[in-house]
């Protein structure tokens, strides 16, 4: 288990789960992922094509908890005031994640525009994005273009993920999708 920790908001956790390579991404980033219970509860399900039918595949973090790459944690009493303050502006998962980031001084990952704005208002360092984690993993593991494309396609197909234009890695992502057209 890595010493460094990175808090995942539900949106990033969903995207990483869609790739099926969360453990490898954590290893490449040299971190243990932390997920607040409130964020884990909002993860829901991925969408998979099974026999031509779109089915919901509930997201199960258990294998990654057992592998030690992900810890699902709760807030402690001193963090509750900050959590409630954040919940006035964002949903419970984002509020809990941001409260933990503030109170514990741990960096966090989120793609959510509203949540990132709140982080900036609270003076937190700029949050990591899904694509930065995936790009770091792709480069660290020296993945072939085909493997990277398959990784990104999984986030699109299973999690309906599309990065915002403001993400500096969006051109990198688009490069792989343009190859498909």
């Amino acid at each position: 288990m890595a010493d460094r920790q990175l808090l995942l908001d539900a949106c990033v956790a969903i995207n990483l789960m869609a790739t099926g390579r969360l453990d490898a991404v954590a290893s490449a980033a040299g971190v243990t992922f932390l997920l607040l219970r409130q964020a884990a509860a909002e993860a829901g399900a991925l969408r998979d094509l099974v026999g031509g039918e779109l089915v919901r595949t509930p997201i199960d973090f258990t294998p990654h908890v057992q592998a030690g790459t992900l810890r699902v944690v709760g807030l402690v009493a001193v963090e509750l005031p900050r959590y409630v303050e954040c919940a006035r502006q964002v949903d419970d998962g984002e509020a809990a994640t941001i409260a933990a980031a503030v109170c514990r001084g741990i960096p966090l990952a989120t793609d959510d525009r509203r949540a990132r704005r709140l982080c900036a208002d609270l003076g937190l360092p700029e949050p990591v994005r899904t694509l930065a984690l995936l790009r770091g993993y792709a480069e660290d593991a020296d993945l072939s273009r085909r493997d990277v494309r398959s990784l990104l396609c999984a986030t699109r197909a299973r999690a309906s993920f599309a990065p915002p234009r403001a993400d500096p890695d969006t051109p990198w992502w688009q490069g792989y999708f343009e190859e498909l057209t």
């Binding site: 829901g44 009493a77 409630v84 419970d92 984002e94 509203r114 309906s160 234009r165 057209t181």
Partner: protein, 374 residues
């Protein structure tokens, strides 16, 4: 859960809980988190700045009294109420105005229901610029051009739809998602009739009626028939189709017309009977011969229309998607407004904010109309 039970679970006295809920005593963070657990609601929802304003459940209390599905209906009306509350909340957050082109309530007392319905349906079609052809999408038309708020939700199978007028939202209609698209179209038009003539009375529309239905129900059914299948256009199309078959009337004519007008074959046959274009009791004869409309349509290569399964009105979905695109709400909040999980919310967002187009090489491409840019 009663206040007594909630206060016991929270470990405070009932008067203290009442004071917290009224806002006369500040709630401590740990109490709020515990209250959210007790009520099974998100903390962020308990902190929502606008109090739930709609109160649909109370309006249905009397109407529910005689319903055999009262308990289940009551629960589902609670769901409709929560959707309506969210709609009001979205309008408030967006600082938007609700689209409405509501005509004055029409008084039909002392009028024969069927002719009065035919007249009003014709007036409404003219007002909405529909001509005398089939309505391509009756839900979309009434949502966009009238301002009805139409929700497609699960209802007991014996219930086709609900109508209620809410001060902050206007006319709200709930349609049974379990029913086929043709039946849903009929129900939408039926509930619209209630909106036009009895706006302030709630309505629970059963699938089957007593033999002698009340005048208002006869009016609403006649309005639905005339609105969806206007006399002049239907007569013209009927004769064209019949001529194309050498003047013979076959079940295929009925199936084709039903498909064009997006109604059931039964509704089409009964309408043609009423217009005296086909012999009376044609539907009874078809039923006696075990006629199966779906099988007949399949034989003719006619596909059943895709059911519009979106639970929420388009205007509602657009408001939520725009708030998300502008970074005013988070993905979690978007999912809560769409009453789905986050991936489901992303799918709905894509469908609302992207429009399909054709790329220079002829392939299909999707243009995002409101991608977050910062």
């Amino acid at each position: 859960m009663t206040q007594q039970q909630a206060s016991a679970a929270l470990g405070v006295s009932r008067p203290l809980l009442v004071a917290i809920e009224k806002g006369t005593r500040d709630v401590r963070p740990e109490e709020l988190v515990r209250l959210a657990e007790i009520y099974g609601k998100p903390v962020s929802e308990l902190l929502r700045s606008v109090a739930p304003p709609v109160g649909i459940g109370g309006q249905f209390r009397t109407a529910l009294g005689s319903s055999p599905d009262a308990d289940e209906l009551s629960r589902l009306i609670g769901h409709l109420e929560s959707l309506a509350d969210d709609y009001v909340d979205l309008v408030h957050r967006s600082d938007a105005t609700l689209p409405d082109r509501y005509p004055a309530v029409r008084d039909i007392r002392h009028l024969e229901p069927e002719p009065a319905a035919e007249d009003l349906a014709s007036e409404e079609r003219n007002r909405l610029g529909l001509g005398d052809g089939p309505v391509a999408d009756v839900r979309e038309t009434l949502e966009n051009d009238v301002g009805l708020r139409i929700f497609v939700i699960p209802l007991p199978s014996a219930v086709a739809g609900l109508f209620v007028h809410v001060e902050l939202l206007g006319g709200c209609v709930a349609i049974n998602v379990k029913h086929p698209p043709e039946r849903r179209n009929w129900t939408v038009a039926h509930e619209y009739a209630h909106f036009l003539v009895a706006r302030h009375q709630v309505e629970i529309t059963p699938v089957r009626r007593a033999v002698r239905a009340p005048e208002i129900e006869r009016f609403a059914d006649a309005f639905a028939a005339s609105f969806l299948m206007p006399r002049s256009g239907l007569t013209r199309r009927f004769h064209e189709l019949k001529r194309g078959r050498g003047g013979r009337l076959t079940p295929a004519v009925l199936v084709q017309l039903a498909h064009v007008y997006r109604v059931s074959v039964q509704a089409m046959t009964l309408r043609l009977q009423d217009l005296r274009l086909i012999p009376a009791a044609t539907w009874d004869r078809l039923s006696a011969h075990n006629f199966r409309a779906r099988d007949a349509a399949r034989l003719l290569g006619i596909e059943s229309p895709e059911p519009a399964s979106e639970e929420l009105p388009l205007h509602y979905r657009v408001l939520a998607a725009e708030l998300y695109a502008e970074g005013e709400i988070t993905e979690g909040q978007l999912a809560r407004y769409f009453h789905t999980d986050r991936v489901g919310a992303r799918v709905i967002y894509d469908s609302v904010m992207a429009t399909r187009d054709v790329a220079a090489d002829g392939s299909s491409r999707i243009i995002d109309l409101a991608e977050p840019s910062t």
